[in-house]
Amino acid sequence: MSWTYILDLLRISLHAMVPITLAATGEIIGETAGLFNIGLEGILLIGAFVGALGAEAAGGPIPGLLIGMGVGALIGFLFSVIATYWKGTQMIAGIGINLFALGFVAFGLIQLGAPGFHAVPKEVQLIKLKTPMGSISPMIFVTLVLPLLAYWFLNKTKAGLILKATGENPEAADVAGINVNLTRILATTFGGALAGLGGAYMSVAWIGSVTKEISAGRGFIALATVVFSGLNPLLGLLGGFIFGFFQSLATWIKTLPSKPIPWQFVEMLPYIVTLLVVSGAIGRVRFPKALGVPYRRE
């Protein structure tokens, strides 16, 4: 066990942190405004798929990431319109997004040739920066900065205050002249865009392939991160790193030559840790009063 091993583990953890933190940051913005989007898993999955498609069609990674973001925003928009103007049940709409993504990506992968797996060509993957620590994806820096921006936005700007008002007390916000539904739609569309970016990152900048289970519960782990953070983006970053670390630890243990535990048990590790962290975090945190409740004018 030398330092290079530990540095390696840290590097992989930072990469695994990106999709979780991106999705969690977006969801923090959305939940602050009062919408609870459990379709994150589906958005990550579809983002990974269309991101890879876009990168190959346009011949570069940046369009792929942007397309992933755009499609994520589109799904977030659809979800938020259902949850606001159409007064739908948010949970059911989220479950619908997840089911749809499961089918759509599996269907799309068959169209691309081999069922269940599609490799993204090396040329269209996002380049990794060569550092003394090893190669690092530039997206890591985006992910480190975004929660800071989100924190500043939520706590230091008027728009952030408006967002909090819509989540906390939509009636008062409405009386103050704020368009509650529109605010919620904007926030959740932005959240969807970040989740879509996280998905596209997985296929275009990190793993380098799309499988029908590429999201592997990360959307729900991001939801757990949001619970852990109590809607504070900085804690969301920390939570994303913790979950990323345990996912990487599982991958890392699997590559050990001695095979101390069967791989199936190692794979359970991130999910068990998620349960432990979430059950420890509850009680400490407080969520917006109107979270998950559609707003109706009296």
Binding site: F100, F107, P262, Q264, Y271, S279, I282
Partner: protein
């Protein structure tokens, strides 16, 4: 005499209105089904398929004859159980999406009966009890986390699903593995299998268990005091608590009953669906049965009777999809079926779908007027 006529007509009309109101949930489900099929058709069209031919093949493969009907019903049986898992908890006010994991664990528990010998019949019952207990056991985790720590069941059940999946991978690969065929578990002996109901088809006696369980849930929820408490707690937890209902009890009860349902779903797959009677590595027969059950539950309006009908529809989609994927020169993959299911659930999430068409038309007209007026306003500004 002349006054009776209009009065009677009026009363008849009122009755008709009531019938329509009663039917409107069913109408909404049908509408959502149509929207889902339309979205599926659009996606097939974009990818260069012929949606008409595909749906024709699907329909014929699902309901084209008695064999097709039998296989549709057979595919619907496990969905009835997992749909009830979701519905019981939804009626109690929770989103239990853990049927998937509970089903895996139930299926493994059912396979363990292959390790010992018992007389026919009793063997089957023991297997079912094992599966039901195992499913209930796996649902206990999220229930306890919710009751003691307040962990939201959506997060905990999904995590338990993933843990169950890898646990079952392990059991299939090392504990229950068939010594002669490494890619599957030992097969359930004929003494513990559901007998086939119609020879030559996949339909077995498990269908009666599904219907019985659905009727049992209906009786429990709508005709017992406990069921009333469960529904009251789901309808308005605060009011229920003031009314003296023990919310913790209803949460635990609905989770456990849901777990029993999911466990039986696993048993109905491995004991009641020919020809394997074993778990194949990678769990192809079990994968997504729990998630599809949620779609069935929503289309069935979370009512046991509605679920039986919806399971017939989704079983048909699954059975027909199997025919569709080999039909014609350019067959549509089976995954299309799940795209349709997702779209149906999204459509079900919109309670005002039925009223939306006229509203959308009105909005479009308003938009048109806005655009017509705009040049006029600009002229005025000059």
């Amino acid at each position: 005499m002349t006054e009776v006529g209009p009065g009677r007509r009026f009363r008849l009309l009122r009755g008709a209105h009531r019938t329509l109101t009663g039917l409107s949930p069913a109408f909404e489900s049908v509408l959502a089904g149509l929207v889902g099929l339309l979205v599926g058709a659009a996606i097939m069209y974009i990818w260069g398929y012929d949606p008409w031919r595909a749906y024709f093949a699907l329909l014929r493969g699902a309901y084209g004859g008695s064999y097709e009907w039998a296989s549709s019903v057979a595919r619907g049986v496990p969905l009835v159980f997992t749909a009830l898992t979701f519905s019981i908890c939804l009626r109690a006010g929770m989103f239990n999406i853990g049927a998937e994991g509970q089903l895996y664990i139930g299926a493994v528990a059912a396979v363990t009966v292959a390790m010992f010998k018992l007389p026919s019949g009793l063997h089957l019952v023991v297997g079912l009890v094992f599966a039901a207990l195992a499913g209930a056991f796996w649902s206990l985790g999220p229930a306890i986390l919710k009751l003691t720590r307040g962990v939201h069941e959506v997060i905990s059940t999904i995590m338990f699903n993933w843990i169950a999946r890898f646990l079952v991978f392990y059991m299939v690969a090392y504990v229950l593995v068939d010594p002669h065929q490494a890619q599957r578990t030992i097969a359930i002996p004929p003494t513990a299998r559901f007998p086939v109901l119609i020879r030559g088809t996949d339909l077995s006696y498990s269908v009666f268990l599904a219907v019985t369980f659905a009727l049992f849930v209906y009786f429990l929820l709508w005709h017992t005091a406990t069921g009333y408490e469960v529904r009251a707690a789901g309808f308005n937890p605060t009011a229920a608590r003031y009314g003296g209902i023990n919310i913790k009890r209803t949460v635990l009860l609905s989770f456990l009953l849901g777990g029993v349902g999911a466990g039986l779903a696993g048993a109905s797959v491995v004991m009641g669906l020919p020809p394997t009677y074993a778990i194949i590595s990678g769990l192809p027969q079990l994968m997504n049965v729990g998630f599809d059950g949620m779609a069935v539950a929503m289309v069935g309006r979370n009512h046991p009777i509605g679920i039986l009908l919806a399971a017939l529809f989704f079983g048909g989609l699954n059975a027909g999809g199997r025919v569709m994927q080999f039909y014609g020169a350019n067959p549509v993959p089976l995954e299309m079926v799940r795209v349709v299911m997702g779209a149906i659930v999204l459509a079900m999430a919109i309670p005002e779908l039925a009223r939306m068409l006229p509203a959308t038309l009105r909005a479009l007209q308003g938009l048109k007027r806005l655009f017509e007026r705009r040049p006029h306003v600009q002229e005025g500004a000059k």
